[in-house]
Symmetry: C5
Subunit: 321 residues, 5 copies
């Protein structure tokens, strides 16, 4: 679906076709063309009306592109990623939004699910002045909204990490290994989508491209700060995850130690006693303890208890119990 907003003479209106004369900066017109999940015929607007370079059009029409910014003759081509809020899945799932940013126009291409652009479209119909700030300010508004959507997801991730860390020490189970590795994937995904976008915005903030005014550079620097903080959080999450893995491994070893101590203590106590009963069950006459026949048993009990006490004392000294 193609939506075209035109700002002329202080008014913004939605139109259905584009006059190529508007693209001339001298015309004093600002144009926002939004292509939501464009069909092939709709996409011809990119190559025929705007005459964008075929390579950038091809990139815009294909999915799963990498965030980047490229200068072409007369326009910047930018790919950024918007986060999707799918409730049932953890992974930082994103879709591309492609921007063609020219001196008088902004063209956005996406798969139709972009919340940021939907919000702005509503805004544009109500606010006549919004497009009057020029295409760079419009682009900044969209990117600002996109980056704001990352923060809640990052906070959810942080909460999950807090819970996981608590669980590792409070209630260690082997199944935590899988959860830790799942969250590690999450953090890696976050880093993979944030880092290239941060670099794209950094170039805008540094004014690598002439079309950016000082004022807009300040605003992009602000977005850049947000992305730096998220990237920094992601790095910290990464460190925490590797600490959790260490803790989990250490827990597993400690549990093994505990299991083995129980086995060793039990064996060390029962083996001598079993030997004793075996010895007194032999067909070979054993020297008798002093006392009556009935006293023999109590002698054995005494010896057994002595063995147990000595063993426990030894284990206590080894700090096993």
């Amino acid at each position: 679906m193609v939506t075209v907003f035109v700002h002329r003479d202080g008014k913004t209106e939605q139109v259905t076709s584009i006059d190529r004369a508007w693209l001339n900066p001298a015309a004093g017109v600002t144009l926002w063309v939004d292509l939501a999940a464009p069909s092939i015929p709709e996409s011809l607007i990119l190559s025929e009306t705007f005459r964008f370079h075929p390579l950038s059009v091809e990139d815009a029409m294909s999915a799963r592109q990498y965030p980047k910014i490229e200068a072409y003759d007369g326009y910047l081509y930018i790919i950024l990623h918007e986060i999707e809020n799918k409730p049932d899945q953890h992974c930082f799932w994103t879709h591309d939004i492609d921007f063609f940013l020219g001196p008088t126009y902004l063209v956005t291409v996406h798969d139709g699910d972009s919340q940021s652009i939907a919000d702005l479209r509503v805004h544009a119909t109500r606010n006549a002045k919004m497009l009057g700030e020029g295409p760079v300010a419009l682009f900044h508004r969209i990117v600002d909204a996109m980056v704001d959507h990352y923060r809640p997801e990052v906070e959810k991730l942080e909460e999950r990490l807090d819970q996981l860390e608590e669980a590792i020490f409070a209630d260690p189970t082997p199944a935590l290994a899988r959860q830790i590795l799942d969250e590690k994937h999450e953090v890696a995904s976050l880093r993979r989508i944030i880092t290239p976008q941060r670099d794209v915005i950094a170039r805008l903030a540094r004014r690598d491209f002439v079309d950016i005014s000082t004022e807009m550079a300040f605003r992009f620097r602000d977005i850049y700060d947000h992305l730096v903080r998220i990237a920094d959080d992601a790095l910290m999450f990464h460190d925490r995850i590797s600490g959790m893995l260490d803790a989990h491994l250490s827990n597993t070893s400690n549990r093994l130690n505990e299991v083995m101590k129980v086995l060793t203590i039990v064996s060390t106590i029962f083996m001598p006693l079993t030997l004793l009963t075996g010895a007194f069950g032999m067909n070979v006459p054993l020297p008798r303890f002093p006392g009556s026949e009935a006293a023999q048993f109590w002698w054995l009990m005494a010896i057994s208890i002595a063995v147990i006490v000595v063993m426990l004392a030894l284990f206590r000294r080894k700090r096993w119990i």
Copy 2:
């Protein structure tokens, strides 16, 4: 085998010998010379007709070269690697393709198995205009085809990693260690062949060399993007593999813990019972339980069951069962 395509006066024809006059830019001739597994006499064309520098000729004639781009007087010498689709083996197996890129000619040297060049040779015989775009465009077409051949292999690798990850948690066996390490080799191979090629293409996209027009630089930037994405995938694969190794190690430890728990539980239950039977097998008279002779056995059974119940309760409290 030497194949020579000449583009003159808007026509492309296949000829058998080269006129040195064609190498003069003023002649308006575009030349593509393809040496497939050249014999020594055939290779003389490089040193005698084209008078390439002996070092570049030597590199072109030897196998297992590293991807690189080198400027010589009047031409660029480029080595890139094409992937081979050997069905029965995993390893990213490649062979060199050498390019001599001059102002009016492209010379390609390879071992005769290059699918990309074979395809283009067919194309060149049919399409008279193709060579007319000049040697850089021709070179770009070959490289574009070469890089496209990487993608399916990368996807196969990704599928294998998905399966492996599933297997690690669903059906952990010691043999998985070898598979993980084999795939780690794969990923390392992929990184080793992609990274230098990405750097070669980056230099072309950045127009480090004067012979590249802006338009061609755009196209090389596109190939560069593909290689960046593959390199990024390889890095992600590397992370996933190391996560799998951690998971595998953690699985092994957990299995050991489980085995030891079984042993400890069994020993802890049976040792006291065996001691009891030993005690009642002694030649020493034991105090009798109240009741008849037959009741003695049921007393023992009761004691045994009590021991078992207590032990199981203890293990339950330790969360072992």
Copy 3:
């Protein structure tokens, strides 16, 4: 709460409102405005009186900002972090202090708990000359005090690490794993807050901004040295922590080895003896040892002792005991 100090004609006085004429460098006035936990109406001073850029005002009013330095038209906007001395918690807990550094003024914004600024406020009321050194010197004084507050915390951390290291070798318990990981968090926090502040101060010391005199650059270089040393300590702490984790893991393995040796030694000694008593308890007549009926027992004792001695000798040779 807003506190305003004005230095005019060699005198410093506290005033309640600001005359915009003072901001003109020609007025020869130095101004220090401190906003401690400013209310919304109080914060208007930033946007209305000083006319700071909205983005910097927004940053100053929001918490948990990242340390940074940004040049705006006519002033520098700086965020630094002061450490909080909370006795009951380990974590390097900090709060932001925001600085607006102009040619004739310093504006500080914080949450009201800053010890460094409180100290300086007392100082400013007593020392008429202090503000006379200009806003950069004033800014330097605050930062110097802030950085000095880090040192005692770093030393406490170092002491805790010393104790922990001692404990790992002297009295290894599984609970140490959690302590090690807690301190690892601490060290990571320290690195996260020091590194960006070091980079901010480095830019001041390198005189990236024109407003810094050589003399002030020398002083910032001194602060920079302090931060470099803390960052270097943090890196060393990080190395020590990872050494402790290795030691802890090695301890756990060694304890397991020791437990298993005890079990194996006990089993290896008692199993043959138990077999012996079992054999002599069989209903099957065994060959008799030479000697009387009573001597049979002593033969068995001799055999048992021989078994024990041989086993112990074997274990001694394996260096197990």
Copy 4:
């Protein structure tokens, strides 16, 4: 031993003393002075005849120098390392060769064992023209030979790694740990000697020094390529070694798991049976199984076999057997 080759008027001859006039570029003389394990008096030629800087002379006369290239007034001082082929040891053992490269002369200093220089000395006596190419070409020939000597050693190392990798999976023994660590040392040695030499040659290939012609820079670029490939191989070897260590560790854990499974299975089967025999050995009358006295035994056998079958079925379900 000092050997002096002089190239004058198209002829190369071996002389015994040096005329300082030859060092004047205008004399049209090319000089190669080789000092093999020079005595102190022989070394005076460096300081007195050539008047080299004392620091470079001192470096040349001392052993175990680090590869480097240094520009002094009028000459380059270069240290490179030649590999020694000691059959009985693994370690990449090298000795220094020192080069003083001036506009009309090459002075080489080494400990007398250099195969590359020995070969070239033979060559120089036979080929009158060789010295005529100038001292840089002569230097290139020596370095080219030196670098060629690395390749066979690298291939031997690769073969040993292949064997080791095979052994880790086919025949894992604890002794492999030592072999893996020995080879890790090897790879580290290789990296340590290749990297600085690669950097020295890179500076020559980049023409950091004015004395290098374009043609010679091409040739040094070729040597540089060889060193890059060896350094790349060393990096890959390093990765493989760390993969082997992981595999070895995983093997050790798996072997432990296997051992413990055997113990647990054996214990779990025999402990109930032993308890059963103990119970029937008690002096307490047990309830009789139905049937004759002889049938009692077969009842016990049936119970025992049932216990064994149940246990094995449980272990099979746990996938232990």
Copy 5:
């Protein structure tokens, strides 16, 4: 203690007070002022006579500074570390030496234990010309001596590592873990003190500061080479230590494997035999073996030996023994 050497008119003499006129380069005087553990009044010479910047004086008077080089107006302020030879401790223990290097003077400040400066003081009293070379040459002499003192300590460390590596494979004990970690601290200390000093000297060798002549830059390059080699050794030591930790961990695992194998073998042999004796001890009549009553025992022995042989054969096949 303050010692002042003055070089005037080709003579060096020790004086007790400083004439500020000497600091004028035109005076042709070279001055060396050494402050050994200066008292507060003695330190006034820095601020009052030489009028050094207060920040550099403060640094010079405080201990535990980080190596650095700083340009102030008219002089360089340098901090380097000299190693202390304390026989009973391992740690690379150092103390600061502070240098103020001006056009006509060198001021050294240290805690009085510096061997390098003590040696040079003796030298200065004997050699009239030494100070005549200028303050940079004097500074170079001290630094050269300081760096030479590192080498023997590095070699001692290398010997200790050799012994430790030998012990790990020859006589592995749990106590080695502590030794390995102690040496890891040592190596980390060495790296921490060498790296910043190398960077200080590199800046002198690169002539970042105008006061350094080409000749002196050559000499600093020589010292720089020494420091590079020590830093490189430290990096290699670091790698060796981590290899030792791996080996130690692998040893611990292997010892555990060995212990468990012994336990499993012993259990697997004795459990069936004990079951056999238990079975023949039951009150239940067992089927008789063919032959006489006495033969029954030999049948049992034969069965037992068969069990043992079969078990040992199985273990042999598993390569456990």
